[in-house]
């Protein structure tokens, strides 16, 4: 779950790391007031989750409060990579001596967090790592031992930073590392971390991603920041179709029938489980098919949930047929999914034999499932038909229909 910059800065500030005297607003007139309060030149920054703001014109510099208001009006109207801004951040244009980088991420191979530090900040850290590898320090730290300042000191010192800079940076890096762990972040980054003319350090931008699975532990923080429960905060905002998919999955607590992602094709997919869905989506596209959606069934959902998901997909504009396919199931029952998808067709006054291009779910309770499918004349396949072959048959049918 990604935070907007203004939220990420607030999180950094709460951790005791110095930040600039920024203000957030959704209103251009208020931007003028914030700029007047700050006094002096300001930066107006679009608050979108997407990257590439600078290039898109979402970052503007103002010398006066009036200019700040004009820029704010324009930036608030500017769509960036398909996203309208949540608001704007008004930031004092700081008097910077040097820009540093500090970030903390998980290393899935070492299975520990790793601090990345560089005295070359303000640009993409991967670029610095490529061009000046000796200027990038990395240091893993234990998941079990308490974090200790010397760890921060070592990573900073490894890049050649010494003197009072080193001593001032240690507490900032320590606080960021602790914040990363305590707040269940998957990324906690300050870039740039600015050194001002007076020798003090201040976070000039921050990027935070919190692990979705841990949101329940941080309800107070999320409520404080005004992050609503239904905000997925992925790379793009959820569509109404996707939100409807979440509602289907939330109907009861039995299994999964959701994780819906919208695409714009004509073949509706009712697929599962995790790995099976990934394989099947690829397979449909490899066969020249055009999926209307991605989704996942698993963990033995109820008939109602399977029905709800199938109905959602069947009713999606542009969907001609659905393909119901899973990798071999051991927990999810074939007959329950079969009943769910047939029920969906019948309730929508559709003929299951015509609307279900193929049903390929082998495994637990398959004989019972196949009996039901036989009764309604739905084409089905067992494990002798591969996932790719099932996808091919579905695509062939929908081709004939178009």
């Amino acid at each position: 779950m990604r935070f907007f910059e203004y939220e990420a800065r607030e999180i950094v500030k709460r951790a005791g790391i110095p930040v600039t005297d920024f203000g957030f607003t959704r209103d251009a007139a208020e931007a003028k007031e914030i700029a007047a309060r700050i006094g002096g030149p300001t930066v107006i920054k679009s608050q979108v989750l997407s990257g590439g703001r600078m290039k898109a014109g979402g970052v503007q510099f103002a010398d006066t409060p009036e200019e700040a208001q004009t820029h704010a009006e324009n930036v608030l109207k500017l769509e960036i990579n398909g996203q309208m801004p949540r608001g704007i951040l008004v930031d004092p244009k700081a008097d910077i001596d040097q820009e540093f980088y500090v970030g903390v991420v998980w290393d899935g191979t070492a299975k520990q967090p790793v601090i990345i530090f560089s005295p070359v900040g303000g640009i993409d850290i991967e670029q610095v790592a490529e061009e000046q590898p000796d200027k990038v320090g990395r240091r893993h730290f234990s998941n079990i031992l308490p974090f200790s300042d010397y760890i921060a000191k070592e990573v900073i010192a490894s890049t050649g930073v010494t003197g009072s800079d080193l001593n001032k940076l240690v507490p900032i890096v320590t606080k960021l590392a602790k914040l990363f762990v305590e707040k269940d972040m998957t990324l906690a980054e300050i870039n740039p971390l600015g050194k001002l003319k007076d020798g003090s350090f201040v976070a000039l931008d921050a990027h935070m991603d919190m692990e979705n699975e841990a949101r329940g532990r941080h309800k107070a923080l999320l409520a404080d920041l005004g992050v609503a429960d239904e905000e997925t905060r992925e790379a793009r905002e959820a569509t109404p179709f996707e939100i409807a998919g979440e509602a289907v999955d939330a109907m009861d607590h039995r299994g999964v029938a959701g994780n819906v992602t919208e695409f714009d094709g004509n073949l509706g997919l009712v697929i599962g489980a995790g790995g099976g869905s990934l394989t099947l989506f690829d397979a449909v596209r490899a066969q020249g098919g055009d999926p209307a959606n991605y989704c996942e069934i698993g963990g033995n959902p109820s008939v109602n949930k399977a029905c709800g998901l199938a109905k959602l997909v069947l009713q999606k504009p542009g969907v001609d047929k659905i393909a119901v396919m899973m990798s071999i199931v051991s927990n999810t029952r074939v007959d329950i999914v079969a009943r769910g998808v047939i029920k969906a067709c019948l309730e929508l006054n559709m003929d299951p034999a015509e609307k279900i291009a193929i049903f390929r779910i082998p495994g637990a309770w398959e004989d019972e499932g196949f009996l039901i499918l036989d009764k309604y004349g739905v084409e089905y396949a067992d494990r002798s038909v591969s996932l790719h072959e099932a996808a091919r048959r579905a695509v062939e049918k929908i081709g004939a229909a178009a």
Partner: protein, 306 residues
């Protein structure tokens, strides 16, 4: 032979009275030679039985009842309690822990894995279905009820490692249909941080005389495939590997997660395209479809022997 478990492996089920755990226990008892499930743990349920398996409040009670160290545990408790359950297992001398639970925050997983490493224990999962040695034993829900598992898995020479539980069975079933049995199949879990990666299981398969080839299921996200490619090259592995990469469409959708928690593409190295290139550099064959895998395995084994 097999890796990780055999017919003598003793294990407990933590969270044994939960609905899925009751089924899982039945399946393990029924499959192959019958798993030695020596106890179950659910706090407050001391004295009960699940399919004849005694239930205890603590792991220590289960170990005391058994009278000697217990080899393993299948952990099926809810995500908020998993870390505590795994710590309890490790501190009571259990050396092999299969974590079935999904949606455990990474911080907890990393803590469990670090403690396991300190104590010489091994974690499989989380978010996995466990381990199966065809016709001998299964530890976890892998393959489902005994009669279903028997349709998909047969004894043989192929080691299977998969980030997807369902695809472990799909691939094994495809191998079985083509006359290729499995030595051991391991569902390693779909999370970003897991107890045992491909590279960490390879030394076990390498030392297992029965195993002649490896089949892996992989996805975008993480650096696990690069780690495997490096291991294979560094150790001049005797085992040919055939890989299947799912989720290729995700390359067009950076920042989005599909299928499993671990799949999010966060950088160039995480993409399917990049991973396929890494695997290929290490001589690992990447199949385009599951159905191609058996033939590729046969060719690879013949080539090594030739």
């Amino acid at each position: 032979m097999s890796i990780l478990v055999n017919e003598n492996t003793t294990f407990i089920v933590q969270g044994i009275t939960g609905r899925e755990a009751v089924n899982l226990t039945r399946e393990c008892l029924d499959y192959g030679k019958g798993a030695k499930v020596v106890g179950g743990v659910t706090p407050g349920r001391l004295g009960r039985e699940v399919h004849g398996v005694p239930v205890f409040d603590t792991v220590a009670q289960a170990v005391a009842h058994h009278g000697s160290p217990i080899d393993g545990s299948v952990v099926t408790v809810p995500p908020a309690f998993t870390k505590d359950a795994v710590f309890e297992a490790i501190e009571n001398g259990i050396k092999l822990i299969v974590i079935v639970t999904e949606r455990i925050p990474r911080r907890d997983v990393a803590q469990m894995v670090e403690l396991a490493t300190l104590r010489g224990a091994r974690i499989i999962g989380p978010n996995c279905l466990g381990i199966i040695v065809p016709d001998v034993v299964k530890m976890g829900g892998i393959g489902g009820p005994a009669k279903d598992a028997a349709k998909s898995y047969t004894p043989g020479s192929v080691g299977v490692i998969s980030r997807s539980g369902g695809m472990t069975t799909e691939m094994s079933s495809t191998l079985t249909a083509a006359g290729l049995g499995q030595s051991t199949a391991v569902s390693i879990g779909g999370d970003a941080i897991i107890g045992s990666s491909y590279a960490e299981l390879m030394p076990l398969f390498e030392a297992d005389e029965q195993t002649e080839a490896i089949v892996i299921y992989t996805e975008p996200g993480g650096r696990m495939e690069a780690e495997l490619a490096k291991w294979v090259t560094d150790n001049n592995s005797r085992l040919p590997i055939v890989a299947f990469m799912a989720g290729r469409f995700m390359d067009e959708m950076p920042g989005m997660s599909f299928g499993h928690a671990g799949t999010i593409v966060e950088g160039k190295e995480d993409t399917a395209t990049e991973k396929i290139a890494r695997l290929a550099e290490a001589g690992i064959v990447v199949a385009e479809e599951i159905a191609e895998i058996p033939e590729l395995v046969k060719q690879a084994i013949a080539k090594r022997k030739g």
